[in-house]
């Protein structure tokens, strides 16, 4: 038994690929996942959620309130106009805006219902939910305090009309001191402060998660299956059929182009089947969005096919391809939002999510299936990026195909 044990260990450590897969790959993936979920345990820096703020009132009350929000640890205030805020949300660049309508200050003083709104992208429900909860807490401590003081002052004046102003100030100071310690607003104040929430994109309850599940999973699985399909190039090399193709009048570029065209067709078909399945079984609404969906499917298929064939031309063997593809696809899926929502990642990681095919594709499907965006503008930008990725990877594939795959002897 000892001899078998020694032999097994020896052969394991001699097999560099097995060694790398067993140790290096999990270490890299643990690192990627940990960074995505917020980094190391002793990280003291607090990640801030960005919040657009549109101040149409521009009063001392709104300025103070905005300053109070900005000083909250987890919220980063980004001032902007209401119209541009809505544009940014519609195009998926920002998640939400807090709008102070004109007359906000007067309403606070009059203790009327406050004209303010929290408008958000329901496609990013988790992120906006967290932001809304943080915001409510901050606003109750800020605007709530102002409104409660107004109410106290009003009550004192009403109940003790003959009280001289010095005494009234003393009583007011004492009452508000005790009230601040309690740090709560009464029911009327709470009702008046109620923040009106509005979804910027048309609301489709229950569809957000479905869109994310379908798009995220589809793109990730597509990358895996197309890498496998691209890997057939390596099989052809090993089995000699590639050499036989080269003996024929077929050009070497035709071999690669044919392979890519086949992967694009299979990828498109795969995505169509996935969306049809989701529409049939889970009632994903696609009937009215066939054209933009078809464009996005084709762009995604081209980018993913380029990726699959590119990896196959870079790798020297099936085993190398398997290790490489697992590492890259899982990493791209993490940072691109296939596996976890991008908002839970630290800002630096969110900023690199644009380097993944998953990000552009998932956002594109969100644009169509959730944000209801027409063809053009941001949607074309996403399609353009995916096509550019496909083109660049195809060009690189040709280079590596000649260098690695066609080096037959």
């Amino acid at each position: 038994m000892r001899k078998i044990l020694a032999k097994e260990l020896k052969s394991f450590f001699k097999d560099k690929r097995a060694f790398l897969l067993a140790f290096l790959l999990p270490i890299i993936l643990i690192t990627v996942f940990s960074l995505a979920f917020g980094g190391g345990g002793n990280n003291d820096t607090v990640r801030q959620l960005p919040l657009l703020v549109a101040d149409e009132d521009k009063s001392a009350v709104t300025i103070k309130t905005i300053n109070d929000i900005d000083s909250a640890k987890m919220i980063e205030v980004i001032p902007c106009s209401f119209d541009s805020a809505v544009d940014l949300i519609r195009t998926g660049k920002r998640t939400s805006v807090l709008v102070f309508r004109k007359g906000f200050s007067d309403s606070v003083k009059a203790m009327k219902k406050l004209p303010w709104e929290f408008q958000y992208d329901a496609a990013r429900a988790e992120e906006t939910g967290m932001l809304q909860s943080l915001l409510t807490r901050t606003l109750y401590g800020s605007v709530g305090k102002i409104m409660s003081r107004q109410a106290i002052l009003k009550n004192i004046s009403a109940q003790f009309p003959f009280m001289d102003s010095a005494t009234r100030r003393t009583v007011f100071a004492q009452v508000t001191k005790n009230f601040d310690a309690g740090n709560s607003a009464n029911n009327d104040t709470q009702n008046n402060m109620k923040l009106n929430t509005v979804s910027v994109v048309s609301a489709k309850p229950g569809n957000v998660g479905l869109v994310h599940a379908v798009a995220g999973t589809a793109v990730m699985m597509l990358l895996f299956s197309l890498t496998g399909m691209g890997g057939a190039l390596l099989d052809e090399k090993e089995q000699g059929t590639l050499k036989r193709l080269l003996y024929s009048p077929v050009q070497s570029s035709d071999i690669l182009l044919g392979k890519m065209a086949a992967t694009v067709i299979v990828a498109s078909f795969q995505l169509v089947v996935m969306f049809l399945f989701s529409a049939t079984v889970f009632h994903l609404q696609i009937a009215t969005k066939i054209v933009p969906l078809a464009i996005m499917i084709l762009a995604t298929a081209i980018a993913c096919s380029g990726f699959g064939v590119f990896l196959a031309t870079v790798a020297r063997s099936r085993q190398q391809l398997q290790g490489l593809s697992t590492l890259i696809i899982l990493s791209m899926s993490v940072i691109g939002g296939s596996m976890i929502p991008t908002f839970v990642m630290p800002p630096w990681m969110q900023s690199i999510s644009v380097f993944s095919i998953n990000y552009w594709s998932i956002q594109g499907f969100y644009d169509i299936l959730w944000r209801d965006l027409p063809i053009g503008g941001i949607l074309l930008e996403r399609v353009g990026v995916l096509l550019a990725i496909g083109l660049v990877l195809t060009i690189l594939s040709f280079r590596f195909f000649r260098k690695n795959v066609l080096a037959l002897d």
């Binding site: 000699g240 059929t241 050499k243 036989r244 080269l246 003996y247 009048p249 037959l408 002897d409």
Partner: protein, 306 residues
Amino acid sequence: MIEVKDIYKTYGKTQAVKGIRFSIKDGECYGLLGPNGAGKSTTINMLSTLFPPDSGEIVIDGLDIKKSPGDVKKILGVVPQEIALYANFTAWENMLFWGGLHSIPKSELHKKAQDLLVFVGLADRKDETIKSYSGGMKRRINLACALLHSPKILLLDEPTVGVDPQSRNMIFELIEQLNREGMTIIYTTHYMEEAERLCDRIGIIDSGLIVAQGTLEELKKQSEVKDVIVVECGKTPDESLLSATLGLPVKAIDHTVYIETSDSKKDLTRCVIGCSNAGYEIHHIDIQKANLENVFLKMTGKQLRD
């Protein structure tokens, strides 16, 4: 038909081919015989336009392979060393695919594929996938796929590797038939008996060089390898006495005498009578014919399967 003039090929630091020169006549079967790594496949790959030689010239049917690789491919059929077929496709599907690459009209291709399946004896199994075939059957389809565009020249790169003797024989018969029908053939192998059986002329290749070429008889003459008559006697013979009696070089080891002759058939009776007259009782007689293995050993100083 084929002119190969001083071709060289280097991969990295390895010089695989170092100035090979040979020519092949129309309808000839030419063998490239050499051990693994001698440069046979590299030569075949250059002939088949897979890559050009670093220097030198290859002219096939009047076409320079560097200038007209596309035209050369039309007249060449290549049978690779590997079973270069799609295992999940049927034989029929494979044939249509490989033939289709040569832009053969559909009806013509179907007829040709059917004829070739009959030719290689697999017409009744054409709808079975290649993965269900035996090694010999795969080799036959491998050959058939190279013939779909009716090439003038057939390059076979060790087409019988891993094949049982019966299938090997069948492949030989197919190649012989093709050659009889006028096809020019280049056949690489490291099996001397294959080269002896199939090839009109043989080039002995070793370490990237052709060390000798010609017909088997010419090679024997060049290498001065002779037949050996082996006579087992009752006692140890006297070498000088026998040599003087027979007029042939003689070597005696223990009770056996080895007599070198350039014509074993003619000298056999003389050797038997000579040994008998010298008083040696003959127990056993054998003739070791000069063969390519001896020639190769003499020319290169190594065994063919080294």
